[in-house]
């Protein structure tokens, strides 16, 4: 016999899995098909691509990893570039953590939850979790993210074999899914003027930062400068 708490946790997990089964999984599958193709381009086995989806769980980092290896970059340089491209996970995890915490959710479980954080689960989590009872949030999030991840892992393996058979325009459209979906889900989650400023500044500052800061640190500068200006606008408006 399972306790009522276990039953409610299992049903929250299943609710999360159900919420993932539509658009979020399709979007992730479209994004990761291209990664499967990149894995093949550099002569790696199919399972290395699948493993990267499960372990790295960050489309842009995977594209950067396999794309830079294809371009002949040295591995230590690739590691630095991948790491700097993934700095967003620090503020993303910090800002979703309060929604995952609850009774019986220790640091170990939070680390597992943090591993599942990516743009899809972050935007959907921030949208859906606040309206839920605290005890259901963590299992819902894990249910959601594991279904999306399983779909994405499958697509990575399928893309390994499929991408070469696709017309160039369709292959391009699959790789376009990540930037397009990131933009739309950020916009869908934007409510305040500060949210829109952060979005617009991040976008506008990136080309400038590539020129001024350069190297791999440009994204870090974009995040800190753009986010801080957006925050300052929020403070000024509140005082006015």
């Amino acid at each position: 016999m399972s306790t009522p708490a276990e039953t409610s946790s299992r049903s929250a997990f299943l609710k999360g899995a159900h919420a993932a089964a539509g658009l979020p999984s399709i979007v992730l599958m479209a994004s990761l098909i291209g990664v499967g193709g990149l894995t093949r381009d550099i002569g790696y086995p199919m399972l290395a691509g699948v493993l990267s989806t499960i372990l790295v769980w960050a489309g842009p980092a995977q594209v950067l990893l396999f794309g830079s290896i294809a371009a002949g970059a040295s591995l230590p340089a690739v590691a630095v570039a991948v790491s700097l491209s993934s700095i967003r996970f620090l503020p993303m995890v910090v800002s979703i953590l309060p929604l995952l915490r609850g009774p019986g959710i220790g640091t170990g479980r939070l680390l597992i939850g943090a591993h599942f954080v990516a743009v899809t689960s972050w935007t959907e989590g921030r949208r859906l979790l606040p309206g839920m009872p605290v005890a259901e949030r963590y299992p819902f999030f894990i249910g959601f993210a594991s279904v999306v991840m399983a779909a994405a892992a499958f697509a990575t393996g399928a893309g390994y074999y499929l991408i070469g058979a696709l017309p160039a325009a369709l292959a391009a459209a699959l790789l376009f899914t990540t930037p397009l979906f990131f933009t739309l889900s950020l916009a869908a989650g934007s409510r305040t003027l500060a949210d829109w400023c952060a979005l617009g500044l991040g976008f506008a500052l990136a080309p400038l930062s590539t020129r001024l800061v350069g190297g791999d640190f440009d994204l870090l500068a974009v995040g800190l400068v753009g986010g801080t200006i957006a925050y300052a606008i929020h403070r000024l408006r509140r005082r006015a």
């Binding site: 790295v56 995977q62 790491s83 967003r88 620090l90 500060a194 753009g226 801080t228």
Partner: protein, 118 residues
């Protein structure tokens, strides 16, 4: 040294690269997020700043993916990539923030640009 390591590990090398060059450099930030955010309150001011920095970072990643695309996306000219993003965003906005409709419209615009100019 790397060449020797690659030789020594043989068929396992790609998996090691995925773990050492892909997984660890990315996961370190998620780990740091759990450590840094363990005691932060959802309604605190610093949390709002953190969220805005995250949003700016994601937008920056999008801009970089559009400006310096890799693989098959690079064959679409810049105006095609930027135009398709604008089409997707405009449709998303006009259809009352429907992510699905915006996504379909943006993808369609990119495919049209692809067939027209590749």
């Amino acid at each position: 040294m790397l060449a020797a390591l690659e030789h020594a590990t043989g068929g396992l090398w790609p998996y090691l690269v995925v773990i050492l060059i892909g997984f660890l450099p990315t996961e370190i930030w998620r780990f740091a997020g759990v450590v840094a955010g363990r005691n932060l309150d959802e309604s605190s001011e610093i949390m709002l700043w953190v969220r805005l920095v995250a949003a700016a970072l994601v937008a920056g990643v999008v801009a970089k993916l559009l400006l310096a695309p890799s693989g098959a996306l690079a064959v679409i000219p810049l105006w095609g990539r930027a135009g398709a993003l604008l089409v997707g965003f405009a449709v998303f906005w006009l259809r009352r923030r429907s992510v699905l409709t915006g996504l379909v419209a943006g993808e369609a615009a990119l495919i049209v640009a692809g067939f027209a100019f590749v």
